[in-house]
């Protein structure tokens, strides 16, 4: 166990805790934009988690997965926000 692996383990634990907090807000959120915001934060935390797991397992494959998750998260948030504010995604 060197210092990098200990830091990665602590970081993975902290990001998992923040995923759980986002899930709580997603389930509970009193308004609909709260839930969409929780989903957006969840996507960002998943990007960080996938990058940290790629460093932990020393495989370069997971960075492309993180890129795809980031792209899908942005597109999903934009589509949901447009649906909430316009009632229609593509006009």
């Amino acid at each position: 166990m060197n210092v990098l692996q200990i830091a990665l383990d602590i970081g993975i634990g902290a990001v998992t805790l923040s995923l759980l907090l986002c899930g709580w807000r997603l389930l509970r959120g009193p308004t609909v934009p709260d839930r969409v915001l929780a989903l957006d934060t969840l996507y960002l935390a998943v990007v960080a988690l996938v990058v940290m797991l790629g460093l932990r397992w020393q495989t370069p494959l997971l960075f492309e997965a993180a890129l795809i998750v980031a792209l899908l998260g942005f597109v999903g948030t934009v589509a949901l926000a447009r649906y909430l504010s316009r009632g229609d995604v593509v006009e």
Binding site: A7, V15, L21, P33, L37, V51, F63, A66, V78
Partner: protein, 119 residues
Amino acid sequence: MELNPIVEWLAAALILIGAFFLLVGSIGMLRLPDFYMRLHAPTKASTLGVGGVLLASLLLGWSQGQPGIAELLITLFVFVTAPVSANLLAQAALHLRVPSRAQEPKGLPPKPADPDPAP
């Protein structure tokens, strides 16, 4: 895997800073009292957290001679798109008349009749 100890400690510090800011953003989103404050917390803190983790990953990749194009792309993409999605969410919340706790500023003229009532 042999690493320079300076690079290793720097990457460990960046990972810890990034994870800390992600956790702070999530706690702020859980604890703050109304939607506009909750929008404010993860938009900045989570961007900084993801930036720290990706910077550590870039540093480790460069110290082993890998270019790290994917990390650079993710960093640029997250830094560009996080304010855009927060702006769109704020527009959606204003359109849906999500209640705010902010006080009404003093000295405003009386409100005109609402031209666009919420559906």
